[in-house]
Symmetry: C2
Subunit: 160 residues, 2 copies
DNA sequence: GTACATTAGTTAATAGAGCTAACTGTTCTG
DNA sequence: CAGAACAGTTAGCTCTATTAACTAATGTAC
């Protein structure tokens, strides 16, 4: 894509690019989700539901680890989503100190809608890029993600 | 880099990649910044200082627009940073309703440190990628940023 | 089999950051 | 000069996150 004689891109430059790209993107995603109020789901709530959908019966600790937050934060997050009716919090049959999280039908529906809308919003903005560029971006994002998550729950390897 | 015969990457796939990459990256940046408590600067505060450093004497509206938040949010953010001693909020000489923001020496120092540490942390994680990959990532991030910010302050075009 | 430690999760207190709505003042305009 | 438009602030609310302190269940040691 670029000639080899161009000045080499340094990790530092990429770090700057990440710092300039990620926060605005995050805000945009968050704002878009809120404005498209499918059910008033915030980004963390959305990620929580996605995780529970993929890992039915998961406990709070695994959730907190996935979300990258502390246990109390996860606990409160769950509390709100349970109150909203998108999640159930039940006692584990044998391990009574554990909690079993399951997504409700409403949660599943809302998740599908929210997921689709946000993706559609992003897709709208990605129109006009040719497949080659898209592939390059997808690859770059994979690398950013794996770089950033280096040394984070290496043992679980559970995808989002 | 990839063969043309590969299945075409769709905007949808890239959207998914963005949704899977940005939130964890954001959290990682935030967490790293906090743990490296140079001065307890949060990411928004950090971005605020960077903007004021680049645009000395800027007003709140321009700041809010850059940050992508509302005026009240920017006002409060400034309030905290002013209280922390990293920023001055003065009256514009001729336009008395305007505010002139300037970074203090302490702010400049703290910014340089925080900036450097977070960048170093990211750089650490980007080690091992060759310049070609780095260039590809940088390019991809530029595209993501411009895609996400489409229809946002098209008139100002003020870089970060 | 009591005693201690670990594990799973909750509660409380606090703080940052965001929003909308309602407000004060200032400047521009008809 | 009256009123519209502009620049910020204040107030009230919510959500997310933190740390510290707690309950309750399980596992281990002696």
């Amino acid at each position: 894509m670029y000639h080899e004689c161009m000045p080499a891109t340094t990790p530092d430059q990429v770090a700057t690019a990440i710092l300039e790209t990620v926060p605005p993107t995050m805000r945009a995603i968050r704002g878009q989700m809120r404005s498209a109020r499918v059910a008033g789901l915030s980004v963390p709530q959305f990620r929580l539901l996605r995780f529970v959908r993929r890992n039915p019966g998961t406990g709070l600790s695994a959730l907190a680890e996935h979300l990258g937050t502390t246990l109390p934060a996860a606990s409160q997050l769950v509390e709100r989503v349970v109150r909203a009716g998108f999640l159930t919090r039940a006692q584990h049959p044998t391990e009574r100190r554990r909690v079993e999280l399951h997504i409700t039908e409403a949660g599943d529906a809302v998740l599908a809608q929210c997921d689709e809308r946000t993706r559609a919003w992003l897709c709208e903005r990605l129109e006009g890029l040719d497949p080659e560029q898209l592939e390059a971006i997808a690859g770059a994002l994979r690398q950013v993600r794996s770089a950033v998550e280096r040394e984070r729950f290496v043992e679980k390897g559970m995808p989002l």
